[in-house]
Symmetry: C2
Subunit: 263 residues, 2 copies
């Protein structure tokens, strides 16, 4: 791909190339810059920031046009971004990394299991601004047309202004034909209840299917993504890959009777 003056946008997801979500995102991004897609070859839902350590990766070139190149990698979403930075971008650093559009929300603590979010956290490690887009409708044929103007607006703003160092955005859309607007939100803490359905196979052996429902720790907290998605709004949650709890440092230091690190 020729180097141009247009911004270079790297795109991945956790569903692979066949889903409408990534195709919608590619179409929008191609209006705004040169695009390289590095997508997983197989479905990678729930793969978080998992990386492949026990076997090597393969990359297959799927499309190659001026300003547009598409690869498939037989690994996780995070593998895709790592291999892009390491080899597939030919040494160029992208101006922006995009992930999604995921078919299904990545709100609440779904962010920690999400391969869609794994993409943007890996971009953050490389200090490149990144945006994850997810949509309530998990049907492969979901219509994302009502989201397109907002997606283009958010991408354009980040291309123009950047993001604070190490910050990525987690954008979620309810399944709706229109939206009252967008809110800047926090991640709703919580956990899944009744998380596995216990069944017995024809040979009398137990097995467990993942299922369940999300319980917010505080469903009335009107700062959270889950609260505003429930009211039909688009939510934008700034995230950081640093999971250090700075406020807890002096508490733990006192508890263990040791010093907080410095000098």
């Amino acid at each position: 791909m020729k180097t141009t003056d247009r911004p270079l946008i790297l795109i991945s997801n956790d569903d692979g190339l066949d889903y409408g979500g990534i195709q919608t995102l590619i179409a929008i991004a191609r209006r705004l810059g040169d695009v390289v897609v590095v997508a997983p070859r197989q479905h990678q839902s729930g793969m978080a920031s998992a990386i492949t350590v026990s076997r090597p990766l393969r990359a297959m070139l799927h499309s190659d046009e001026p300003g547009y190149r598409v690869w498939q990698v037989d690994g996780t979403p995070t593998d895709c971004i790592k291999l892009a930075f390491s080899h597939l971008l030919g040494g160029r650093t992208p101006d922006l990394v995009l992930s999604g559009i995921n078919h299904g929300y990545n709100a609440g603590i779904s962010t920690i299991y999400s391969g869609t979010m794994g993409v943007v956290f890996e971009a953050s490690a490389h200090l490149v601004p990144a945006i994850a887009f997810s949509h309530e409708n998990y049907h492969p044929e979901a219509d994302f047309t009502p989201c397109e103007a907002t997606i283009e607006q958010v991408i354009s703003a980040v291309l123009r202004d950047g993001l604070p160092t190490g910050v990525c955005l987690n954008v979620n859309f309810p399944n709706s034909a229109s939206y009252p607007g967008m809110k800047i939100t926090t991640t709703a803490m919580g956990h899944w209840e009744s998380e596995y359905e216990h069944r017995v196979d024809p040979h009398g052996q137990d097995y467990y299917w993942l299922t369940g429902h999300y319980e917010c720790d505080d469903p009335d907290d009107d700062s959270t993504d889950m609260y505003w998605l429930g009211k039909g709004w688009i939510t934008v949650t700034p995230c950081h890959l640093d999971q250090t709890d700075f406020a807890a440092m002096p508490v733990v230091a006192t508890m263990l009777d040791v010093a907080v690190a410095k000098g």
Copy 2:
């Protein structure tokens, strides 16, 4: 397992039962409480907080003695903790969740790829205190004897005092016969360089092996885990599963010309 007055300690890891690390941790924990181990059946290094969504899980009872029960699950470390809370603890909530001892550091942003950390983040989602232990020596036969007193001290302190809500501890040990002490640290931000080795197979096809070395964004920052591990100290980093960047919220609100969520 009978219910007793002793604390209930749930243990997992990402290496499986055969490694010395988890066996060392089990031996220490059994001195302090009743222990249930739910460990992955296969190696799960680099699995982060990945969950199994496309097939059901199986759990096999491996040992069952008074105050001590061991399960193996054919899934990820996070699956192990989820299935424990959902079914394998018989409805009891553990007082503490332990992970490791991992053979290999989980310092710097390794925390985001680490199955060892996936265990403790899942415990945090259930609001249960949790501690991950990792050791520089990745050899399966590594000798963790010099760490045992400190591990018992940290576990005892958390059993006594708890941890702030949603906080877990990430404890790392250099490979050493003795230590100058322990520091409460932050996670060293950075990324891997030269991350894949490109090779060509006998059929002329490219493949890529994960390798590389970690580059700290600021190697002189004397608040970080990487800095103090490099000086031979034990590090304790308090972590939280909430990845919201609260400081970035007003910045992003201004950039997108929308409101920060509230009421």
